[in-house]
Symmetry: C2
Subunit: 376 residues, 2 copies
């Protein structure tokens, strides 16, 4: 048991079938509308756990347990979540990408870390781990989800942009070597993902254990599972799901209302758009713009209530179920939650890459709180 | 000396500095407006030949001399020729791409073949050969230039789409593996080339000697050199440059006139456009559409005078100097030459990929002649 602020989150040493519902809900909330739908990955993971050729659980190790000279990589999916809802993966894209960077580099990967804990990319590394027997590190590179690959703490804090790979469901494989910057890799990999039909598996970057121990957002696999567990308990009568989110994530409800308009546009491989909400009583309103993930929430007179890198999460106002940008629908009754971002996302170096300005907003970042329940 | 139809072309066993002017002119004409400007590659090759760390010539071997189990690859540049005129290569892009596919495949390349003899990609393989000591095969995959990579005889006749690489002037490198079709590779490599600023070096495909002996357009390095030599001799008073082209390539002048309009648009990594010509006397006119290369020539009442895969070459009407799509200018006095395409470009399999329909023209291909002076 490790203490996060004044809350208690149970850190786990393995993930089993019984954890998956919780993990999916927690990762869905932390996905801030994006990161893809974790349900498909959950089903796949269940299937692997049930297959007697594979172990029935995945080992989770703390970033501290990692050998300083271990080789660590991220795996997962790239693309617009709205496309992933219709274009299902074959299932071997991420693993093939991992093998490709191992072959290209000559290194063998010792452990896998989620690039982002939010959404489907919480499950994808567990699938690869189950298939390979590799452990998964209890942490990730975002503590949430972000739309572009240079936006993880690994690249922000200097992980080498060598090697990387994308693979599609046909086995088409593209390997990136000696790329000059993570932003350049994002450009290449996004074009290829678009050419692959808007969805690809990825593996990158190759990192040393000591680097990962320092720059991962720690304990987020455990946090996502715990968040989901508490929300589910709240639904089952043990409390209130919304209160569970508020307490686990140090979150505040920014708005309660119904969705009155949704505008979506798939462009350059991303799901862009805007959702408008109206209060259930009175005439207060809120608009939230998104690029895969929710980026900025504006209230009356366009006043900014929350913005990246802080998390803006939309959940069902009664069940606390996460609502993704792809599943936003007219009439949904929702709570909009503001969640303070991990500290590693709020340094000057990080704000250059994931602050409002990085998404084209000419506003000063006003953090929701100095502290964060995500990471340490 | 090998006989091509009723003409005699001297096949060469090496290329030296004194051949380069001729080769550049010949490759420029065979480029049918595209393939990039050979002059820059010529200057680079001269510099390598003058450097005492490298040999002062490149060995040229006939496709027949090739060992059946030799490993052969193409190298060169991808991109819109209009961009290559301003964005110069660093010089190591093609060689780095070659090394990348060697590393990825575990194979060692024994000989290099130009993917296209037209334009800059006639010189690029010679540069890599000079730097590595590898021989260059007297032949190529097009007998001309085409805008897209699936349009060479190697891919048309089934070369494996594994492995391929692009490299840019910063050393950014992208390797393609297990790609399901050449058209898919074209899509990926074109997106990456656009992301690389519109110009990249390439290496692909890896082929066996026996395959190359069968499907290369033979003797085209010698042909390009010979064509240039005869044009230069014509200029120097030994005849007429236009007659030299007609005789060497079995070409016919389709039109003589001046350029009255040029429309260009760089889109999706290609130089698209149309050039309009008017007769010097009378009111005859001609329009030629292009995608990097000249695709279709239309005369009065839009009657098609020539189309892909036959070569449409625009040359200065007095000097026979090739005019590329990028150097078309109002007022130029030109001859438009129609050149019968090599036989390997006129099979049903080939016409599916490089016939008028492949470029979006709803016309039946009418060949200029059954025979061709290009290839055997």
């Amino acid at each position: 048991m490790s203490s996060i602020q004044n809350r208690t989150v149970e850190t786990v040493s393995e993930i089993r079938t019984e954890d998956l519902d919780w993990l999916a809900t927690g990762a869905g909330i932390l996905g801030t509308g994006g990161g893809g739908d974790p349900r498909l990955g959950r089903l796949r993971l269940e299937t692997i756990f049930e297959n007697e050729d594979y172990p029935n659980h995945v080992e989770i190790i703390s970033p501290e347990e990692l050998s300083p000279d271990a080789t660590v990589a991220s795996v997962g999916g790239m693309g617009a979540p709205t496309i992933s809802r219709e274009k299902f993966p074959k299932g071997d894209e991420d693993l093939k990408s991992l093998r490709a960077i191992e072959t290209a580099s000559g290194d063998k990967v010792d452990a896998i870390i989620p690039g982002e804990i939010g959404g489907a990319n919480s499950m994808a590394p567990l699938c690869v781990a189950a298939l390979t027997g590799l452990p998964v590190i209890d942490g990730d590179g975002m503590g949430r989800a972000f739309p572009e690959l240079q936006m993880d703490t690994f690249f922000i804090y200097g992980a080498p942009v060598n090697f990387a790979a994308n693979t599609d469901e046909h086995g088409n494989q593209v390997v990136y070597q000696d790329i000059q910057s993570a932003a350049q890799l994002e450009k290449f990999a996004r074009s290829i993902t678009v050419d692959m039909g808007g969805r690809s598996g990825y593996a990158f970057p190759l990192m040393e254990g000591s680097f990962v121990s320092e720059y991962a957002i720690a304990d987020t696999v455990s946090l996502a599972r715990e968040l989901g567990r508490r929300v589910h308990e709240g639904r089952d009568g043990g409390g209130n799901p919304i209160t569970a989110i508020e307490e686990t994530l140090d979150a505040n409800a920014l708005f309660t209302g119904k969705i009155v308009d949704v505008f979506r546009r798939n462009r350059e491989g991303f799901a862009f758009g805007e959702v408008s909400l109206a209060a259930l009583d009175g005439d207060a309103s809120l608009t939230i713009e998104f690029q895969n993930e929710f980026l900025i929430a504006r209230g009356e007179d366009d006043a900014v209530l929350a913005s990246v890198p802080d998390l803006i999460c939309i959940v069902d106002k009664d069940t606390g179920a996460p609502i993704t940008t792809g599943s936003l629908r007219y009439g949904q009754r929702v709570k909009v939650m503001g969640v303070p971002a991990p500290k590693l996302l709020k340094t000057d170096a990080a704000l250059d890459v994931i602050g409002p300005g990085a998404f084209g907003y000419d506003i000063e970042y006003q953090q929701l709180s100095e502290n964060s329940a995500i990471g340490r």
